[in-house]
């Protein structure tokens, strides 16, 4: 395979992946509105497109499979077959299969897949055996299909086969018309730009802003301040714009949910109305990408644990169909995603019982209703008695919480017994900029994320108790907490400077103090990746460039100290003073 061919194939795969996202959506809409003409046309066009291009770049298997689907779609289009739930299910399976093939081909361009069964199912539906789409062999009377298979192997290009039955001609001639008149590409108004280039642009603009401030302070002396200031405004505008280029709407992450809701509700025999609000809300691409899994998990949970069965709902005086609402909006520097269901709510006292039985909380401990509900975020906690296929595979809400927190976000839950639950995910709009605190420790300037620091206190001589061979500790409002010195772990030289200030960091219900020399100021910093030489150093979140153009390290205090803390806690269980 030469380079050009490989590139062509990869281009196709990328394009096909995007198309598939849209078709899944269309199939789901088709299920709701099976006689929607324009929808069927759109799907048919997609299938035809996919068949043609996949064959052209040499992915025969995709072409062959798609050809079957296209035949079925043609029948639907010509209103010979009505798109029942079952048919939509098969088409969704087809969608999944093609995606699986694309994934496989991306790894290995020569990969071969098993799609016999699906092809048979598709053929069977066309042959009118839709009632049993599983393992029905293609009917013997189905002559034309066989012919097509031969054609698929022998004809490499778009050329129409020479010999055709009349029925076959319809299948092929129809789409041909559309081929002649080239479809305008839908994404005409957007331009695909590699993230790398955007990063370079952001780097350069950041540098521009720094140089501008140098120029401004130099010009200020010569009275040309006005010009310098307008340059400054311009630079700021350019910086805002270049930062915003990384933002994408949350819509695509939401669209996946429609499929999840459909499959889950079918499996559990529940009726669900999924409402998506605020799909245009924008968020950093990196955040958007890691949003999918937590969302899917919460939605599955809402349907499985939250919503009642139709019978239960009627008995409770609710409409038969449950509502799951997913709403996205901006709040300050955060994107908020709220997932609300009108199910039975979370039963706090049941959770307490469970937690006690599992030894997660001691019997003597009393929890408020809210604290009880928050037990669902505890590791190893699944309230369903029976582990179901849908949710509760041991990994649970604790994973969701961890994932969101790793992104610098937060998860909150509110629930009312009998009337439903609401999960609130708060995510930073971008990972590229964080609110930082510029600190000094061990003769070094470092940046720490402001969000990790709960409070800052001035250290006095007598606040810290030293013990030989043990971690020093201090008394913070009647709680004994361990004290670390950043200088010991991150100072470049032993300066012998006193730690004047302690930052209090809280992680997993455990607070600890970190002694530093000074806090310089708070500022927003642009997070840049760590260089290879410091990539694996524990506690490095990244690097950044400070206002004066000097690089600095961003230290992840929680990452740096939580493991150390756990080890030491195990060694000598710290005494918790009441």
């Amino acid at each position: 395979m030469d380079d050009f061919e490989i590139e062509l194939k990869h281009d196709f795969l990328q394009e096909a992946r995007e198309l598939l996202q849209n078709t899944e959506q269309s199939f789901l809409e088709l299920e709701k509105d099976p006689s929607n003409k324009t929808l069927i046309d759109a799907i048919f066009r997609f299938a035809h497109n996919l068949k043609g291009t996949s064959r052209a770049v040499g992915f025969g298997q995709i072409a062959e499979l798609t050809h079957r689907a296209e035949n079925l779609l043609l029948e639907i289009k010509q209103e010979k077959i009505f798109a029942t739930d079952l048919i939509v299910s098969t088409l969704l399976l087809f969608n999944d299969k093609v995606r699986e093939m694309i994934d496989g081909l991306e790894e290995n361009l020569d990969a071969v897949f098993d799609c016999e069964q699906l092809m048979k199912d598709l053929d069977a539906i066309i042959a009118g055996e839709a009632a049993a789409p599983v393992a029905t062999p293609a009917a013997a009377s189905f002559e034309p299909e066989v012919e097509v298979e031969v054609e698929a192997k022998s004809v490499e290009s778009f050329e129409e086969p020479q010999v055709e039955t009349v029925a076959q001609a319809v299948v092929h001639k129809l789409p041909e018309k559309k081929e002649v008149k080239k479809e305008p590409r839908k994404d005409d108004e957007t331009l695909r730009v590699s993230l790398n280039r955007l990063e370079v642009l952001n780097n350069l603009v950041g540098e521009l802003v720094i140089i501008q401030s140098v120029v401004e302070s130099a010009l200020g002396k010569s009275g040309e301040l006005k010009t310098a200031r307008s340059l400054g405004k311009l630079c700021k505008d350019i910086q805002d714009l270049s930062m915003s280029l990384r933002m994408v709407p949350v819509g695509p992450s939401f669209q996946k949910l429609a499929r999840i809701v459909r499959d889950t509700s079918k499996l559990l025999n529940k009726k669900v109305d999924l409402r998506l609000i605020g799909e245009d809300t924008e968020i950093d691409k990196t955040v958007a990408e890691s949003l999918g899994d937590p969302l899917v998990h919460i939605i599955r949970n809402a349907i499985d644990h939250g919503l009642e069965t139709p019978a239960e709902r009627i008995a409770a005086g609710k409409p038969e169909e449950g509502v799951v609402e997913v709403m996205a909006f901006h709040e300050g520097n955060f994107l908020v995603i709220q997932i609300t269901d009108d199910g039975k709510g979370i039963n706090g006292s049941k959770l307490i019982e469970k937690a006690r039985a599992k030894g997660i909380i001691p019997d003597s401990m009393n929890l408020t209703e809210q604290q009880a509900i928050e037990l669902i975020f505890h590791a190893g906690f699944s309230t369903k008695e029976v582990v179901s296929e849908v949710s509760g595979r041991g990994v649970g809400m604790d994973v969701v919480k961890t994932n969101i927190e790793q992104l610098g976000g937060e998860v909150k839950v509110r629930s009312k017994l009998g009337s439903g639950s609401c999960f609130r995910l708060m995510l930073p709009l971008t990972l590229a900029i964080i609110d930082g605190m510029l600190i000094k420790a061990g003769g070094q300037q470092l940046v720490v994320p402001k969000g990790q620091v709960q409070e800052v206190i001035r250290l006095e001589e007598n606040m810290i108790t030293q013990m030989t061979g043990r971690r020093p500790y201090m008394n913070l409002r009647n709680t004994i907490i361990p004290v670390f010195y950043l200088e010991e772990d991150w100072g470049s030289v032993a300066t012998g400077e006193k730690a004047n200030i302690a930052m209090i960091v809280r992680h997993n219900d455990q607070s600890f103090a970190i002694g530093i020399t000074d806090i310089m100021r708070q500022q927003q910093v642009v997070v840049k990746p760590p260089t290879k030489e410091i990539l694996n150093k524990q506690g490095v979140m990244g690097t950044t460039i400070l206002g004066d153009g000097k690089p600095s390290l961003i230290i992840d205090l929680i990452n740096l100290y939580s493991r150390k803390l756990r080890q030491e806690m195990n060694n000598d269980s710290m005494v918790q003073a009441a």
Binding site: V200, N202, Q445, D489, W490, K532, E533, I534, P551
Partner: protein, 159 residues
Amino acid sequence: MDMFNKDKNSSNMETKRFLEFKLGDESYAVGLLKVREVITPPEVTAIPKAQPYVCGLINLRGTVLTVIDLRKKLGIRPGQDASQNAVIIFDLDERLVGVVVDSIQKVLNIDETKIKPVPDSDGQGMAHILGILHHEEKLTMWLDPKSLLDGSAPLKVAA
């Protein structure tokens, strides 16, 4: 036919271009295409608890990169005069690394026939040497910056 390479007309031998520099009193060279640029030594931000040969971080027009002192890494004593010191920015497959050298010499054009293989030796440093360049009665070591800077195993021994 080859309108872009007029200087090559008399010879059909391939020539390669190198950047020659000094580490201490020793001459080394690297393939010119691996070099992004050469800058005067900037102020570096130290990386605490890093390997001793890591000088620190610099800001190269918005990109943060590490600067390494090859002399410390290879155990070469730095020259007396630091005024000619320079930092070579290497472009190693999408990643930039800076290297402090004593001085930049010049760009060498060397016929392929003048590039000799590395003599068979078990010296540690030889691991990162691609060949020996014979020019003007001198021998210059042709270093492989990628294997030298990518932190492969033998390096840590050398440091």
